[in-house]
Amino acid sequence: MTLTACVNGVGLLGPGISNWPHGLQILRGEVPYAAAPTVLPVPACLPSAERRRTGAIVRLALAVGLEATTNAAADPAMLPAVFSSSGGDGANCHEICQVLAGTERALSPTRFHNSVHNAASGYWGIATGATAASNALCAFDASFGAGLLEALAQVQVEHTAVLLIAYDANYPEPLYSKRPIPDAFGVALVLAPATGATTLARLSVTLSDTAAARMPQPALETLRAAIPAARSLPLLAGLARRATRDVVIDYLGPKNLALRIEPCP
């Protein structure tokens, strides 16, 4: 069983990585990687009332999603989407748990509706007008791989382009000590059944028992291991190369995902 799709656009944002062109330079070794706190843009695409209600996790997902659809020259309103996050909005969760630990328990309605795991998907629809199917997945540390499988299955079975957005942000204390994700990292891929003007590569994916690849640069390997969405880095490094490459990325024990990345055109 092999799932295939064309990668037509990428969006990327993380600690010390400001966008996909910057990420390309880092992954090609053209500029050194320098870790720095992730800078999240304010989502200009949302009406001001909704914009004020968004936390880091939603801003992250919207930013990489829009970058990927722009790079793919795709209309975000027309794409089904797969959102995958290992934990959702940790800051919001912390605020809710604090309120519920007290006696008043006066929860804010906005905090509550932002607590759903598909909050980013909901805001994405409001921002872009996308009315197609949208999924919100979680597979703990395997969330990027799970999102990739879901998106590829949609491409293959429904014969449609799909937007995959994988994204994670840090929890505040005291949850941080239990789940030490250090910063926000998001990646988005526009995956399509056929090549187009913007296609970077053709991607073929199978389940594999082979161990996942590590990043050769120690700082990027630290990032890959620390944030579940950054388990995508070996795939992104493969996209950055201009030669066919086989690489294995982390999935769900005992299985990993073996990828073949063939540059296009």
């Binding site: 328990r105 309605p109 598909n118 999924n135």
Partner: protein
């Protein structure tokens, strides 16, 4: 135009809710028009509301080998898996196709968040730290449910949790269907488990969406939901591999792109999901014998859903919301109501919506206030969630001799 999907067989299914443990108790309660809702006495909650609590969850600890997954939600999952021989059906299937060829696709909205809520009461006074025994991965994390079920059933295939609020465990059927169609797996455990917690009880209360009475879907006087909890599972396989009578025939998914916590007033996304489900099943509205409405009993949900149903299926098809009986089981609702649809097909029985005294005349649907016997061949189940996430499923059965 949505492509026709290849039907999948439901080779096992089970449900546990406030109506009882397993299919016999569920069917008996539906036939008796019984509600499992009772005044809320959950944990330390002080809210004037009814809930659908599953009895005995707190007294059913997980086997010691699963201590890492200990939380109310996984206890409920464990209780659910033990009913109707479901776990045994999965084991037989895994023995046939291979444990790595059976996927796990489960829905939940809050997973084991109750453990975190309780842990926040036990923070260290000086450092603010959570108690040492608090486990993030096995309790709090959204994936905990699928990780536990996969391990408990000794499966090694792909696994994922879909968490899109109240559509979660309907959407797992669509996702599993794609994975089967793509050849990624040969069988799928699908389902949903959601359990009572303070986040949802106080959260829906903050949105003023909770009724003080047992919820009354489609009633003119409906004034909000009653929250319930449930564990419901089904085993999906290709029908050519098994002797199948009950089938998943169609799925439809859409997004409202409208509001975070209110449905589109005209039911735009709901209607799109229903239409897609019909197209994917290769059926027309006239083929549907019964609709299990999402029917939460909030004024806005039922109005928007009724508009969408009337637009897509007309106003004649009998339908009901079973949430008056079970409460709104949130991330488990899609799977619970899918199992109720399977019971309707198996027993040629359309369950009444209970608690509803007078159907709102503004809602142009054929709402069942009494149980209706009669041949049931195709049923539709609707599930809609926060963030404008909509899913519609169609189930059917093979006619005699076909």
């Amino acid at each position: 135009m949505t492509e026709r999907m290849k039907p999948l067989a439901l080779t096992g299914f089970t449900a546990t809710s406030c109506l009882g443990l397993g299919l016999d108790a569920t069917l008996a309660a539906l036939r008796a028009r019984h509600t499992g809702l009772a005044p809320c006495a959950f944990e330390s909650v002080v809210l004037d509301t009814y809930v659908g609590e599953v009895p005995g969850v707190d007294h059913s600890p997980l086997p010691v080998e699963f201590t890492d997954y200990e939380c109310r939600n996984n206890r409920l999952a464990h209780l659910g898996l033990a009913q109707d021989g479901f776990a045994a059906s999965v084991r037989h299937c895994a023995a046939r196709v291979g444990a790595e060829r059976v996927g796990v696709f489960l829905g939940t909205s809050t997973s084991g968040i109750l453990e975190t809520e309780l842990a926040y009461r036990g923070r260290d006074a000086a450092s603010g730290a959570l108690p040492t025994e608090f486990r993030y991965r096995g309790a709090h994390n959204t994936f905990s449910l699928a990780a536990f079920v996969r391990e408990a059933l000794q499966l090694t295939g792909p696994a994922v949790v879909i968490s899109s609020a109240c559509s979660s465990s309907a959407k797992v059927f669509a996702s599993a269907q794609r994975a089967l169609a793509a050849g990624l797996i040969d069988a799928a455990v699908v389902g949903g488990v959601d359990s009572l917690c303070l986040t949802t009880l106080y959260g829906f209360h903050s949105l003023q969406l909770v009724s003080r009475l047992p919820c009354r879907p489609f009633d003119a006087a409906r004034d909000g939901i009653s929250i319930g909890e449930a564990a419901a599972f089904a085993l999906l396989e290709r029908p050519d591999a098994v002797d199948a009578t009950l089938l998943l025939l169609g799925t439809g998914e859409s997004s409202d792109a409208y509001h975070m916590s209110a449905p589109h007033p005209q039911g735009r996304g709901a209607g799109a999901a229903m239409l897609q489900a019909l197209e994917s099943a290769g059926l027309t509205s006239a083929d549907i014998d019964y609709i299990n409405f999402h029917g939460t009993a909030t004024p806005s949900n039922d109005e928007s859903e009724a508009r969408a149903v009337a637009a897509v299926l007309g106003s004649e098809t009998p339908g009901s919301s079973t949430k008056g009986a079970t409460g709104h089981t949130l991330g488990a609702a899609g799977a619970l109501e899918a199992v109720i649809c399977a019971l309707a097909l198996r027993h040629d029985f359309m369950p009444a919506g209970v608690n509803t005294a007078a159907v709102d005349p503004a809602l142009k649907v054929n709402y069942l206030r009494d149980n209706l016997p009669g041949r049931v061949t195709h049923v539709m189940s609707n599930s809609f969630g926060f963030g404008g996430s909509n899913c519609s499923l169609i189930f059917g059965k093979r006619g005699r001799g076909s």
